[in-house]
C-alpha cells in the first residue's frame, strides 16, 4: 500500500465568461468524471451547499450543475482573517454519450455532489453470441 499523499490547498477559480442573473461570485467546482460501459459518474466538490440548494439539469446534451451557498452560517460574524471566499458554484459539460435522462440520479453528501448518468440501453456495448454451423 502506498502512503496517502498530503493534501495541498488550491485557490478557488472564479467562473469566467457566462453571466448569471444572480449577481455575486461563482466558483468552478473541482470535478472527477469517470466512464464505464454503463454510464458516467461525476463528483463535484461544493462545500457549503446542502442538498436542497443544488440543481442538476440536462438539456440539449449540456449538463448544468449549480450549487447555491447559504450565507446563514455567517450571520453576525465579523471576519478577522480569510483564505478563501464563498460563493455559488456553476459548471457545464457537453455530453457526447447518449444518456438516459429519466435514469439520472444525483445526491449530495458532505459537500460533494454525486451524479450518476446511465447510458441508454442502445448505447451500451452488447456482446453478440456467435453460433457455430
Amino acid at each position: 500500500m502506498t502512503p496517502e499523499p498530503e493534501l495541498a490547498t488550491r485557490e478557488k477559480q472564479e467562473v469566467q465568461g457566462t453571466e448569471k442573473t444572480r449577481p455575486g461570485r461563482y466558483f468552478v467546482p473541482n470535478v472527477d468524471i469517470r466512464e464505464d460501459e454503463n454510464g458516467l459518474k461525476l463528483w463535484a466538490d461544493m462545500p457549503g451547499v446542502s442538498e436542497k440548494d443544488v440543481e442538476v439539469s440536462l438539456k440539449d446534451g449540456v449538463l448544468t450543475l449549480i450549487g447555491a451557498v447559504s450565507p446563514a452560517p455567517y450571520d453576525k460574524l465579523t471576519p478577522l482573517y480569510t483564505e478563501y471566499n464563498v460563493g455559488n458554484y456553476f459548471r457545464q459539460f457537453e455530453l457526447n454519450e447518449v444518456i438516459d435522462e429519466a435514469q439520472i440520479k444525483a445526491r449530495m453528501r458532505n459537500g460533494v455532489l454525486e451524479v450518476e448518468l446511465p447510458k441508454r440501453a442502445q448505447a451500451r456495448p452488447r456482446r453478440i453470441e456467435v453460433s457455430a454451423g
Partner: protein, 147 residues
C-alpha cells in the same frame, strides 16, 4: 470594523455583503497564524462574534468522525484524511481534478479564549469550530457609584 448583519428576506444581498467582507480581510497580515499559514490544507477563515472566535474550514468529502481536532495551550490542530472512496474504482477518467490524501494543520490562536469551552460541527462539507471567550476577556460593566 463592520459587523455583518444579514437580512432574512435578501439572501442575494447578504451573500454579496459577505463576499465583500471576506475579500477585505483576505490574508490579513495583522493576524498571526503561526507556522502553518496560508497554503496549508484545509483553507480556513477566522471570524469573531460576541461569544468568541469562529474558525471555518472547507473540507468536502470528509467523514466527520475521522476529523481530529485538538486544542493545546493556544494551538488548534485539525487533522484527518480524505479517502478516494468509490471514486477510486475502475473505468476511464475524463476529469480528475479533486485531491485526496491526508492533512494536518495547526494554527495559533490569540489570547483570551476559553479552550475548555469549544465545540465543532461539520455540515455540508464545512467544519465550524467555535471557541468561547475567556470570562476575563469579555467586556464587563462597571457600576458608577455616587459619592
Amino acid at each position: 470594523m463592520a459587523l455583518i448583519r444579514w437580512e432574512q428576506f435578501d439572501p442575494v444581498g447578504s451573500l454579496l455583503a459577505l463576499q465583500d467582507e471576506l475579500g477585505r480581510v483576505l490574508r490579513n497580515p495583522g493576524f498571526n497564524l503561526g507556522i502553518s499559514g496560508y497554503g496549508a490544507y484545509p483553507p480556513i477563515n477566522i471570524f469573531e462574534d460576541s461569544e468568541g472566535m469562529v474558525i471555518i474550514a472547507e473540507l468536502p468529502g470528509v467523514d466527520p468522525a475521522s476529523v481530529n481536532l485538538t486544542l493545546q495551550s493556544n494551538t488548534l490542530t485539525l487533522s484527518g484524511g480524505r479517502p478516494r472512496g468509490d471514486a477510486g474504482e475502475g473505468g476511464a477518467y475524463h476529469r480528475r481534478e479533486r485531491d485526496f490524501g491526508e492533512f494536518s494543520r495547526s494554527i495559533k490562536l490569540p489570547e483570551g479564549l476559553d479552550m475548555a469551552n469549544a465545540n465543532a460541527r461539520y455540515e455540508a462539507g464545512v467544519l465550524i469550530v467555535r471557541i468561547a471567550k475567556a470570562p476575563e476577556a469579555k467586556p464587563r460593566q462597571i457600576a458608577v457609584q455616587s459619592a
